[in-house]
Symmetry: none
Subunit: 231 residues, 2 copies
Amino acid sequence: MKRILIIEDDVSILSGLKDVLTFKSYDVLTAEDGESGYAAAVEEKPDLIILDIMIPKMDGFTLCRKLRAEGNSTPVLMLTAKGEEPDKIQGLDIGADDYVTKPFSLPELLARVRVLLRRMPERAKKNLPDSIKIGDVSLNFKKYEAHKRDMVLNLSPKEFGILRFLASRMGEVVTRDKLLDEVWGYDLYPTTRTVDNHIAQLRIKIEKNPADPRYLVTVHGIGYKLELDKE
Amino acid sequence: MKRILIIEDDVSILSGLKDVLTFKSYDVLTAEDGESGYAAAVEEKPDLIILDIMIPKMDGFTLCRKLRAEGNSTPVLMLTAKGEEPDKIQGLDIGADDYVTKPFSLPELLARVRVLLRRMPERAKKNLPDSIKIGDVSLNFKKYEAHKRDMVLNLSPKEFGILRFLASRMGEVVTRDKLLDEVWGYDLYPTTRTVDNHIAQLRIKIEKNPADPRYLVTVHGIGYKLELDKE
DNA sequence: TCGAATCATTACAGAATTTTTACAAAATTA
DNA sequence: TAATTTTGTAAAAATTCTGTAATGATTCGA
């Protein structure tokens, strides 16, 4: 389920929006000022932020620019009041992805929300590689194809996800919880044993000797890591 | 420098817009009716088209639909006459990327122009061939024709759209949501199951054995992809 | 206005994947 | 070494995903 963070100090708008979006089966988070909104954006990693410009403590422009400056590319849908410091919108390229002018029509806002959420997946994969090679196994994440030498290797989405994330932190140990967070996502929390099972499956598929893994290495008490040059 | 084509018959709006956009360092082209506007869109390949609906010779809807039918994905910002929601919605249905209602506020228009241009790179990636061959089926996207061996193959617009988009990302997996976004468009949101049905229809039409597809391949848990050389 | 074509929804069976569970094996600790 | 914690993994159970047929809605053109 997609998560939407609304940052808006006008409580009537906030609760109205929240109700509608909740009814549309989105998971809604809220904040009523810029500072707590910023914190929520960073910590909760929503899939979309609906951001009013005129909010206490930190205005929407600043908030949005701050996120972008940090490389956060969560889609932002701005709520601007008509005649609200138009020069600012005009003069600054603040990095919002879309705008709605208050008072807005609900269908229009929903349409824009849908569009932004659909475009999302593109951006999400930040420093994740498109393809990697692990020993004689090569992976292509765009095609979702895996080959072992010339043979096609059948990997499940989770297996692809795990390898992709581990590859993005090549050589670093990653905890099971971190993997669940990144590969599974916020709203699903299987046990950490589930991770072990997937790792075991992966070893069968990509290691020469699954009982003595060279690439998918266990770090006892911590988690797993992907190594390419174990001697 | 980004090039913007304005198609608008109201000369006062046209020249006003042109001045502002030129001042903002865009390269501005203009046309005052649908036919010359269409020609300019095709020949000049602008980065963005600002398109009024009520224009002589060919209205904005038709023009936009015509471009999209040919696979032209230049972002289109519609100018809709002050008025009803239905107009707006329809504007987005036909493949426009955004719209502004007249009389519009300049800052808002500029903001939307920036947003659309920023989105561009994602779009531009489309390297759509004029025609492709899938097994013994050949498709011509320019002419909107499909043949199976010598026989004419009747494909619906959606079917064409799906194939065209998949072909533009040959070999890459595309999610159902992405397909809905690109083929169905802004304001339509059928369920993802709808995509499955169209894929099933397509398989019947282009695969030798629809139950074991060689070209229109499912990637379980992710989406579909078009492959040309599965052995 | 009617009919044909297209499109969307729904339902459900069968696949495929994911999660849980259980227990053995290994590593760590004291 | 014994106790404890952690990991590996097989197998069962649960869940999710896909294919597809049937049905209804919508659109478009004659």
